[in-house]
């Protein structure tokens, strides 16, 4: 007869969900830093009117006698070429490009994930057709395609979101497709089929959760990239228009005064850097945290 199974060492026993998460966070301070800064950026965006010392300066206000003042007690980040408080504009800027980036990435995911998962799991002609479509989009340099689209659409933040989303989704489709195709060939998917589980359920419950991790990492890494793209298009007059306190636009405008007034470019630039960096740390940390093997390592 078979002997009764010996119990596993308690070391390897399943941890309650909360405890596993806590351990994961403790082991990864960079993830915590990234998450904290990301949350701060969101809070700054939400409470901008309370935080900004001169809320009106975020708009079209001008102060002809306060032009290009260096940082001081009144204006911590100095003033720009029409005398607006740079700090206030940087604070309000958290409401522009990060929000655009969120929408772009959301749209890219909503389009990219289902198409990629279906193409990778089912393969065949469907896969061929979808991949050739993404090839067409990927054949253009992304910035150029976004530029062309933004030029056709009326200059506004909505057009900007549409233009960048259109260039962004094919990357996600391909990423998910490759993952889904590799997961679809794993033994547990075959085991699921052998159990009589319907395809759509295998796709949703088994293939997608095992394919999504690289995408989550990619999305958080892309956050900075989208902000930079937004800035580039705004700089060319195709996105945010002048009174809008967009970080990229502020950098573009301040560029002319860089030699004499470094603060006009530096602070919005730093805002882009910190935000992009925080989301990158977040993405990197999430990847580690979501590795199922990690849960059991001490």
């Amino acid at each position: 007869m078979i002997e009764a199974p010996t119990p596993l060492p308690t070391q390897a026993s399943a941890l309650p969900r909360g405890e596993a998460l806590r351990r994961g966070l403790r082991a990864n301070p960079l993830l915590v830093a990234g998450a904290v800064i990301s949350v701060l950026v969101v809070l700054v965006a939400v409470f901008a009117p309370l935080l900004a010392p001169y809320p009106a300066d975020a708009g079209s206000a001008t102060h002809p006698f306060m032009v290009l003042r260096p940082p001081s007690a009144q204006h911590w980040f100095g003033t720009d070429n029409v005398g607006r408080d740079v700090l206030s504009r940087v604070i309000y800027g958290a409401r522009v490009s990060p929000v655009v980036a969120v929408f772009v990435l959301l749209i890219a995911c909503v389009i990219g994930i289902p198409l990629g998962a279906v193409a990778g799991y089912f393969g065949g002609w469907l896969d061929e057709a979808l991949m050739r479509v993404t090839d067409i989009f990927l054949a253009f340099p992304p910035l150029l395609l976004a530029l062309a689209l933004a030029a056709v659409l009326p200059p506004s933040l909505t057009s900007l979101i549409i233009a960048i989303s259109v260039t962004w989704w094919p990357w996600y489709t391909r990423l998910i497709r490759g993952q889904a195709a590799s997961v679809a060939g794993r033994p547990y998917v075959e085991a699921c089929r052998a159990l009589g589980i319907p395809s759509h359920r295998i796709l949703l419950r088994h293939v997608l959760p095992n394919s999504i991790t690289p995408l989550i990492v990619q999305v958080s890494l892309d956050f900075g990239g989208v902000i930079l793209t937004v800035s580039a298009l705004s700089f060319l007059g195709l996105g945010a228009q002048d009174p809008t306190p967009d970080w990229g636009l502020m950098v573009a405008e301040g560029q002319n005064y860089f030699t004499t007034a470094w603060w006009v470019v530096t602070f919005p630039g730093l805002a882009i850097l910190v935000t992009a960096f925080a989301f990158t740390l977040l993405g990197d940390g999430l990847r580690d945290l979501m590795d199922p093997k990690r849960i059991f390592l001490r």
Binding site: P7, S13, Y188, E190, A191, A194, L195, N210, F296
Partner: protein, 258 residues
């Protein structure tokens, strides 16, 4: 006759990978399907499960389960047969479980899919775990926390809980070490005795086949070159290939003569 395969022909395009004239499985019988890698053993299991399209192969011929022709069933009806009536266990138990889910959620999911309520599934899962001599508490663990042998027993527990009539065991012990292998084989033998389950046991290990199976079919290049009672085939092979296979397994010379 519970499972009968007749004139089965599986092809990738023009290339035939399986051509079986006849292979049958009686209730409570363990039939071994042995042969070298690439001889079509696993494709035969896929054909019985109606899953050859997932690897791009086409099937002709007849596969009947208690008189029901499986090859003419729709995928929808086949899903009722798979798992519920014909269960399968595979070579690498540790990779046959989705690492993201707890073992129990896989077991419950399978039971609920085949018509059990939440309560029934929980009850049946615990009971089946005890039947395969595992603690039901292992259901709360992740696949990575269980050993290969334990996972293979969980896979068998699913088949048990669903009261499958036929178990397709595709190299179920090849990835396990010898002692664990013996336990799993013991369990399969036990199932046949207590539940009357029919087992198609696929293996390249003739020592294991000799020990476990009532009848043996030797496959080569997609064809069955010899079949008959295990004791006869493995002690007095008629086909030269069977003799070659036996000669290739050092351990079989002593095991085969006992």
């Amino acid at each position: 006759m519970r499972l009968a395969i007749r004139d089965l022909d599986v092809r990738f395009g023009d290339r035939q990978v399986v051509g079986i004239d006849e292979l049958s499985l009686d209730p409570g019988e363990i039939v071994g399907l042995a042969g070298e890698s690439g001889s079509g053993k696993s494709m035969t299991t896929l054909a019985v499960l109606g899953l050859t399209h997932t690897v791009g192969a086409t099937v002709r011929g007849s596969i009947t389960l208690d008189g029901t022709e499986l090859t003419s069933l729709s995928q929808r009806d086949l899903r009722e047969v798979r798992g519920r009536r014909i269960a399968a266990i595979f070579q690498s138990p540790s990779m046959s479980f989705n690492p993201v889910f707890r073992v129990g959620s896989v077991v419950h999911g399978a039971l609920r899919l085949h018509g059990m309520t939440r309560g029934q599934a929980a009850e049946a899962a615990s009971q089946a775990m005890r039947q395969v001599l595992l603690s039901p508490s292992l259901l709360d663990r992740y696949p990575l926390q269980l050993s290969g042998g334990q996972l293979q027993r969980v896979a068998i527990a699913i088949a048990l809980a669903l009261r499958a009539e036929v178990l397709l065991a595709d190299e179920p012990t090849s990835a396990l070490d010898v002692t664990v292998q013996a336990e799993v084989l013991e369990l399969i033998r036990d199932l046949r005795e207590r539940e009357g389950m029919s087992v198609l046991f696929i293996s390249h290990d003739l020592a294991v086949v000799a020990e476990l199976c009532d009848r043996v079919a030797i496959m080569r290049n997609g064809r069955i070159v010899e079949q008959g009672p295990a004791s006869t085939v493995l002690s007095a092979p008629k086909h030269s290939y069977t003799a070659d296979l036996l000669a290739a397994v050092p351990r079989i010379s002593s095991a085969g003569t006992t």
